[in-house]
Symmetry: C2
Subunit: 208 residues, 2 copies
Amino acid sequence: MTTSPRTRRDGTETRALARRTALRLFTEQGYEATSLRQIADELGINKASLYYYFDSKEAILQSLFDERGTEAEQLLTWLREQPRAPELLEAAVLRWVDSCTAEKLQGIRFMTANPLVARTLTGRPGGDRIVAGLTHFADELAALLPDPSPQNVMLLRMAVLSINAAVSAAPPTGIGDDDVIAAARRAARAVLAEIRGGGPIEPPPRSP
Amino acid sequence: MTTSPRTRRDGTETRALARRTALRLFTEQGYEATSLRQIADELGINKASLYYYFDSKEAILQSLFDERGTEAEQLLTWLREQPRAPELLEAAVLRWVDSCTAEKLQGIRFMTANPLVARTLTGRPGGDRIVAGLTHFADELAALLPDPSPQNVMLLRMAVLSINAAVSAAPPTGIGDDDVIAAARRAARAVLAEIRGGGPIEPPPRSP
DNA sequence: GTCTATACGGTGATAGAC
DNA sequence: GTCTATCACCGTATAGAC
């Protein structure tokens, strides 16, 4: 081995810092519009030094996807072991929405800013696991719909992606992460209610 | 003049075709990932010939924004001459949603695929009039909210942008434009109801 | 209007010294 | 680990013949 414990530790720290920097720049400017030179400059290192930590620019992207790629899959695993019930629909959607912490929001922001970039990694291991995982998640939930009309399937997908919609709708500044997440939750519930009721009118609860 | 009527007519047709081709490629692959060579190839002309119709790649982008930039402004103009009333909120949002024809959807798809590209044109005349116009629209509507809390402002913005959310949520194929628009409308109404009621439960209609 | 040829810069990436 | 130097390539854009 050529790496001592000390250099190894410094290395992984720099690598982690590079990932965070890349994530920020990719989110602000887009993946294609961000050059390796720019990332290196912000890190205070030379452009070529980045290649010590990553094999290519695409490898940086890949590592960002890998970091957060398992979440959607875990959600899917959880869903498949739940007993089928009408309440599962709302429970599952809200489980996903509520799992979104303020830290996870930056991942959503990155994906929202680069909606097409996932296709760059298609075919490779761990490519677009987030997108694919959420898609499968929504598709599996669609089987629970009493009326799986195209519109209702669409509304279900919109409920699942309410966090993304909230991030897209949020102005660049002035609204805190908490309110973004809370708004996403309320929107998801409202859309789910629309699917159930076919309209805003809910039958009043009846006690026997 | 160096252009005869005949060449002039052919020219504007080619220009229009180039715009449509660019719009499609920008939507499929992204603005930065699409090269002028690619656009020229699909048109069956040389790369350099594009510069007869457009001064630069950015000029192509600009022309696409100009084509659909006035709609949000017209909406804003309409809003400002409406009498203030509680029903104006939902009426205004639905006016925007319902104005979305199947043809207009491709504009939304382009913007959804290139969320950051509007900033490329900021400062220039007619830059991001769509985004800015819709933002102003939502902000003006926010003044009509009984409770303009950050969450409610967020929800209002999400209702206005429900078309964008629907486009983002729609799978690449399998769902028609009509269902996408219809789902957006239902989602917008559901979110507006959530703002009004603060919850999915609506009081049942009471006849005196 | 369309072409060929070319200029120019920036990009991702590699080799090798230290 | 970080650097300098260098590479091939592709991007936009221009000049000028036809």
